[in-house]
Amino acid sequence: MYPDNYRYTKDHEWVTVEGDTATAGITHHAQEQLGDIVFVDLPKVGDSCTQGKTMGSVESVKAVSDIYSPVSGEVIAVNDSLSSSPEVLNADPHGTGWLVKIRVSNAVELDGLMTAAAYQEYLGGSH
């Protein structure tokens, strides 16, 4: 369920890094809690983002929730297909439902995030 090569935040985002490019999204647990997602608000290419700060929001039939950036850096791509097909975020949150690609400015930040095993333990403890 939770890929081993991803890192996870307490706010239920995931991130995976290749070279200096991070791909980020929200976790399966997050989409499950939100329910049917109807709208995704993402940053623009060129925006800078800071670890732990709001970079967008997701709206479900129940609520609007902030998305917090799992790493700091510059947004170099956003998943435009989510604006017309937000349901992808429910169906495949760890894959085709990715949200943004970020050029990482401080790779050390990743050390502070959870592994897949630690994240699942975190889910087991507190929701």
């Binding site: 709208f39 039939v61 129940k62 937000p86 929701h127």
Partner: protein, 491 residues
């Protein structure tokens, strides 16, 4: 067993555009007895249309029947209990309407000279003073048109105060149980929002407040009772922590129906708050308003209140615009005046002891419903309830039935649904606020319905998951409606 009379018995009703046929009229004007004016000449040809495309043409009787049939497809407090938590859907006494239709009040014009508007000014002046007494605050502005507007006005006052002291500050603290409008208000006023986690009793965590409180905090927005319907018993201590750092305490007064006549925000450290007259003071509610969200402040925020203020000038009342520190106007003229008249009528009809009784009945009714339901639905925070009670769907979701399904089934039983999935700190919340105006018989029908639904979930969960069954329109596809909305009717 469904025992309540339901509406929704109507046949399919077309749109007003669909029942239109050319040439029909719903009016007859008398013959013109003054010289005709050419509108193109009077207004300029660019401002004149020959006809309005697709404008519906129907007769008077068809118009009346169309809208009467539509109104009967709706649910309203005049049909039955409307237990929509956090909204205080109480009955609107008809005496309010009678008073609001008094000729001198209903036909007053906002540009009427002050000398001829003394009665209207007195309505404003007296209601402001009564609301000060109810809240324990020093001054009230009746201008804001709704709760969120009141919040925005209140936080703008906070910003103005901090700016006058040289630093507007940076952020607003908001508990994780807050109404969604609170963080939205903070953001609209240019502040960052910091969420403060509740403790395991669902209350403000004083240690978390102490950790977050510093010279960057402009205010903390607190709802009391909070959205779990629990009284924030440490609000005075939280206020002391915030005041020590020069931060203000904003109280969201959405839940004042639990406090009026018993406890006053001005006595437990609140600097600024709003009231929802359309909730607590029984003015009509829903359907988009109009509402009223007066803001009440302690004296240190009074110089910043919106203009004009009503002041006494000898024997007469007058508008005072000469207030250099005011944040300005927040609404045309003097707010939704007709709503203010209704709220004053309600207040005078009850009197002090009556308002206190209403509050106690609201608390009694919520606790009666809580007691009747607590064997059937889980209650994640079991601190004493004030005016509303919040259950979770934990037990029912094990059978695949969620709070939204139970709410839909409740429509079949002839009730408006409770508030669904809020507050967010309760997973699968059922938030029930019966208000004081429900008789015991109606509360029993509501509790019986929810108990029956709990049994249905045990026996035949699919019946509940596919509800409603007795309505003119069965379950709507909310997801597609939100993802691919059709916003315009086309022929």
């Amino acid at each position: 067993m469904i025992r309540k009379v339901r509406n929704h018995l109507n046949p399919e009703e077309g749109l007003v555009f669909e029942i239109s046929s050319p040439g029909k009229k719903a009016y007859q004007l008398p013959d013109l007895d003054v010289p005709a004016v050419d509108p193109a000449q009077a207004l300029g040809p660019a401002n004149v249309r020959r006809e309005i495309e697709h404008f519906p043409e129907i007769s008077e009787v068809e118009t009346i029947r169309h809208f009467t049939r539509l109104s009967a497809q709706n649910y309203a407090i005049d049909f039955g209990c409307y237990p929509l938590g956090s909204c205080t859907m109480k009955y609107n006494p008809r005496v309010n309407e009678l008073v609001a239709r008094t000729e001198g009040l209903a036909w007053a014009h906002p540009y009427q000279p002050e000398a001829l508007a003394q009665g209207c000014l007195e309505v404003i002046d007296v209601l402001e003073r009564y609301l000060c007494e109810v809240t324990g605050m020093d001054a009230v502005s009746l201008q804001p048109a709704a709760g969120a507007h009141g919040e925005w006005t209140g936080i703008m006052l906070v910003r103005a105060l901090h700016e006058s002291r040289g630093n507007p500050r940076k952020k607003i603290l908001v508990p994780d149980s807050a109404h969604g409008t609170n963080p939205a208000t903070a953001a609209m006023c240019g502040y960052d929002v910091e969420s403060i986690k509740s403790n395991d009793r669902g209350l403000i965590d004083l240690e978390a407040v102490a950790r977050a409180a510093n010279e960057d905090v402009a205010a903390m927005m607190i709802t009391n009772p909070n959205t779990l319907g629990i009284f924030e018993e440490n609000i005075d201590k939280a206020a002391a922590i915030l005041h020590e750092k020069g931060a203000m305490v904003y109280m969201d007064g959405a839940n004042m129906n639990a406090l009026v006549g018993i406890s006053r925000p001005g006595d437990f450290g609140v600097d600024v708050m709003h009231l929802n007259l359309h909730k607590t003071f029984s003015t009509p509610h829903g359907g988009g308003g109009p509402g009223a969200g007066p803001v009440a402040v302690r004296s240190h925020l009074e110089p910043f209140l919106p203009i004009p203020r009503v002041k006494r000038n000898g024997a007469a009342l007058a508008f005072d615009y000469d207030r250099p520190q005011s944040i300005g106007k927040v609404r045309a003229f003097y707010g939704n005046f007709g709503v203010l008249v209704r709220a004053l009528a309600y207040t005078l009809a009850h009197g002090g002891p009556g308002l206190r009784n209403a509050t106690m009945d609201a608390i009694l009714n919520a606790n009666y419903v809580r007691t009747r339901l607590q064997d059937y639905y889980d209650m994640p925070y079991d601190s004493p309830s004030m005016h509303e009670c919040v259950f979770s769907d934990d037990r029912q979701s094990a059978k695949g039935v969620k709070t939204g399904d139970i709410a839909k089934r409740l429509i079949d039983y002839g009730f408006h649904p409770y508030t669904v999935s809020f507050p967010l700190i309760v997973h699968g919340a059922l938030m029930i606020e019966p208000t004081e105006t429900e008789p015991k018989q109606e509360l029993d029908l509501l509790a019986d319905a929810l108990i029956d639904i709990a049994r249905e979930i045990d026996d035949d969960p699919n019946l509940v998951k596919t509800a409603p069954h007795g309505t003119r329109v069965s379950r709507v596809d909310e997801v597609t409606a939100a993802r691919k909305p059709i916003l315009r009717w086309r022929p």
